[in-house]
């Protein structure tokens, strides 16, 4: 290669490096008057309700923050990854490339998180997930862990899975479990995680794995009916849960139907129709409206247009507030945000202490709630 070209490239590289350093230096950061946070989750697609239920929590938290006229205003950037790892793998690099974004509220789904890790790790972009709950995301031995960028304000499925089995079998004498999963990063481990508790509580009469997006669940329904199961647990998301539960009820199954937080979205009763009645759902979340005063709820509705906050509004609100607190403390770069989130301690909307362990989980976990579908609406029942 021509020596002039080589030296020219070296100068250009040095200049780029120097400019990059300047761009992220504290002095430059101090001059910022606005920064952005991204919300990454499903905003369209089959699982859109999951993200649509969560994003109002982030919008409201940012509105409250900006209303105080802070020195640095915060914008929210929406990134729609459709609860799909393939989509997330394309969306995340775009988010990472936007230098205004200093933190990501998300992702909603575990598969999205896993697919986003390469881009966010490379960019040093800190994530705080409101609902991505697969154990592997924070497992130090797992190859797909999100360390050091990934954090979550939701209890992982190591807590949810046993609670789901317990809640599903609540009040059932000698339960016979049939456990089905959707073969996703989230659904597979959640369903398998229920098995040890299910075996303690009763017997497991069958398991099956049906790929997400399957249209016809009649053969599964036949197997479940033939097995004599009294409790069916599904690890998967709303759209497929609705199809499966409809097929089970239409196939003559009369026992308990249960699923985790992937199904616990406000559109589930509408999609499943009559089959949704009595379905037992879990989520590591406290209903947001139960934590707000009437005036606060009115303001939430005014800002977001949502009358009743959906599932994981609370965790999205908590995740956003952690970033906002860090910004208030002067963390205006990605590296400063990461340092702040890793070492800080906060009080959540429910009064709980939020502090992350080395791999991004909340220290001490979080309680898992049990929810029931009654008259076409998901209502909080009890601790699962």
């Amino acid at each position: 290669m021509n020596k002039k070209i080589v030296s020219g490239l070296a100068i250009a590289a040095a200049a780029t490096l120097a400019l990059g350093v300047v761009a992220t230096s504290p002095a430059q950061a101090a001059a910022k008057t606005s920064v952005s946070l991204a919300f990454e989750g499903p905003l369209t697609g089959g699982d859109a309700q999951l993200g649509q239920d969560q994003i109002p929590g982030a919008i409201w938290a940012i509105a409250l923050y900006n209303a105080k006229n802070p020195k640095v205003k915060v914008n929210l950037v929406k990134a729609d990854s459709q609860c799909d790892g393939t989509v997330a793998a394309n969306v995340a690099p775009g988010v990472a490339a936007n230098k205004d974004i200093i933190g990501v509220i998300g992702t909603s789904c575990s598969g999205e998180a896993r697919a986003s890790f390469p881009a966010f790790k490379a960019a040093g972009l800190t994530m705080i997930a409101p609902s991505a709950s697969a154990v592997s995301l924070t497992d130090p031995k797992a190859p797909d862990r999100g360390f050091p960028v990934f954090h979550r304000v939701v209890a992982h499925d190591g807590f949810q899975a046993p609670a789901l089995a317990r809640y599903a079998a609540k009040g059932v004498t000698s339960p016979k479990f049939y456990v089905i999963d959707d073969m996703t990063t989230y659904g597979g481990p959640l369903a398998k995680g229920t098995l040890p508790t299910a075996k303690k509580l009763g017997t497991v009469v069958g398991t099956d794995s049906v790929p997400k997006g399957t249209a016809d669940y009649t053969s599964v329904a036949s197997k479940v009916k033939a097995s004599g199961a009294t409790v069916v647990i599904y690890g998967g998301y709303t759209t497929d849960a609705a199809k499966l539960f409809k097929a089970l009820r239409d196939g003559g199954y009369t026992g308990i139907l249960a699923s985790g937080d992937g199904t616990n979205t406000s559109d589930f009763p509408g999609l499943a129709g009559k089959a949704a009645e009595g379905v037992r759902l879990t989520a590591a979340d406290v209903p947001f409206d139960s934590l707000l005063t009437k005036a606060q709820l009115a303001d939430f509705t005014k800002v977001t247009g949502i009358k009743v906050p959906g599932l994981y509004s609370t965790t999205a609100y908590n995740a956003t507030n952690i970033f906002l607190d860090c910004i208030t403390k002067g963390a205006l770069t990605r590296s400063a945000i990461q340092l702040c989130v890793t070492n800080g301690s906060w009080t959540g909307a429910g009064g709980e202490t939020i502090k992350f362990d080395r791999y991004g989980d909340i220290i001490g976990g979080a309680p898992v709630g049990g929810y029931l579908v009654k008259n076409g609406v998901i209502v909080y029942d009890s601790v699962a």
Partner: protein, 317 residues
């Protein structure tokens, strides 16, 4: 592997396999009819199916005004509503199929374009329809109202003869018989067969080729529309990409039976439906696709033209 399910659920699985397979068969007829006359795969047929499911949903909820949680209908009102939705879905799909032929095939054919150009333009139309529906529905799945209460005629060794299952079996059989007779006996059917055997000779015999090809697309659209109605009635949901997996299944059924062969498409669909149900039950649902395509490859190894033979001339029935 769970072979015990064969003994305990044989009839139930067979019934479900029949209903699923016959829906496949109707879509498969759409592929095979077009292949018969053009010797090209109409890749837009999967999206014709998708539009049919939305047409059914639109008719039920927007034209007839039933809410998603509307109570089930009975008597004449039920028959009238279902018949209206059935016909509307078929007509919508037929019109769309004709439009596909005009846009993606006819103009290119008139200009003597390469056959591959038509194939690509059909894929283009398919993507256009898919993405348009994705934008319109913001990718959200939609559910249809349960207007047909799923009552049962009775059971036989665990098989539940539910009204929707029986509709999904009887309707396709009747449609196939009518189509088979139409292609075999009517003047227009003979024209279709003539064109499928030799376009040049058909021209010499005074057959209007364009008219026959349009008619073929129209028939394919009608059968696909019927399948869309039945699918929506049985599964009560649709989504912008519902046509993708249905298209793959129906195309597989057509190849399994022998593409270009009406009876091949019909029995290929039937075989595929049964195979999927039994493979899911015995091996687990995660092995369904693997089993289906393994069987397809094995069948093609021994019968490269499918179970009933490919030859276009087979369209003679």
């Amino acid at each position: 592997m769970n072979f015990s399910v064969i003994t305990s659920q044989f009839w139930s699985l067979a019934l479900q396999g029949l209903s699923l397979g016959l829906i496949y068969a109707l879509v498969s007829l759409g592929y095979t009819m077009v292949y018969g006359v053009l010797r090209l795969i109409n890749f837009a047929n999967s999206e014709v199916f998708m539009v049919g499911t939305f047409a059914t949903l639109f008719i039920e909820t927007h034209v007839l005004g039933y809410a998603i949680n509307a109570p089930s209908l009975h008597g004449f009102k039920l028959i009238y509503t279902l018949f209206f939705a059935f016909v509307a879905s078929m007509v919508a799909c037929a019109l769309l199929a004709i439009l596909v032929e005009l846009v993606a095939y006819r103009r290119l054919r008139a200009r003597g374009a390469n056959r591959l150009a038509s194939l690509i333009s059909a894929i283009g139309v398919s993507i256009f329809l898919l993405e348009s529906m994705r934008i319109i529905t913001i990718s959200r799945p939609m559910t249809t109202p349960r207007l047909l209460d799923k009552w049962s005629f009775g059971t036989f060794h665990g098989a539940n003869f539910r009204i929707d299952t029986m509709m999904a079996i009887i309707f396709p059989i009747l449609i196939f018989i009518v189509l088979d007779q139409f292609v075999g006996r009517s003047r227009l059917g003979k024209s279709i067969r003539a064109v499928s055997m030799s376009e040049e000779n058909s021209k010499l015999m005074g057959i209007n080729i364009n008219r026959v090809i349009t008619l073929t697309f129209c028939i394919g659209g009608l059968t696909t529309g019927a399948a869309a109605f039945l699918y929506t009635t049985v599964y009560e949901n649709t989504v912008f990409n519902v046509g993708f997996s249905m298209g793959i299944a129906a195309f597989t059924a057509a190849v399994l039976g022998g593409i270009g062969n009406l009876r091949g498409a019909f029995f290929g669909g039937l075989a595929l439906g049964l195979l999927e149900e039994f493979a899911s039950a015995i091996l687990g649902s995660q092995w369904k696709a693997v089993t289906v395509f393994t069987v397809l490859v094995v069948v093609l190894l021994f019968r490269p033209n499918g179970l009933f033979g490919e030859a276009v001339q087979q369209t003679r029935t």
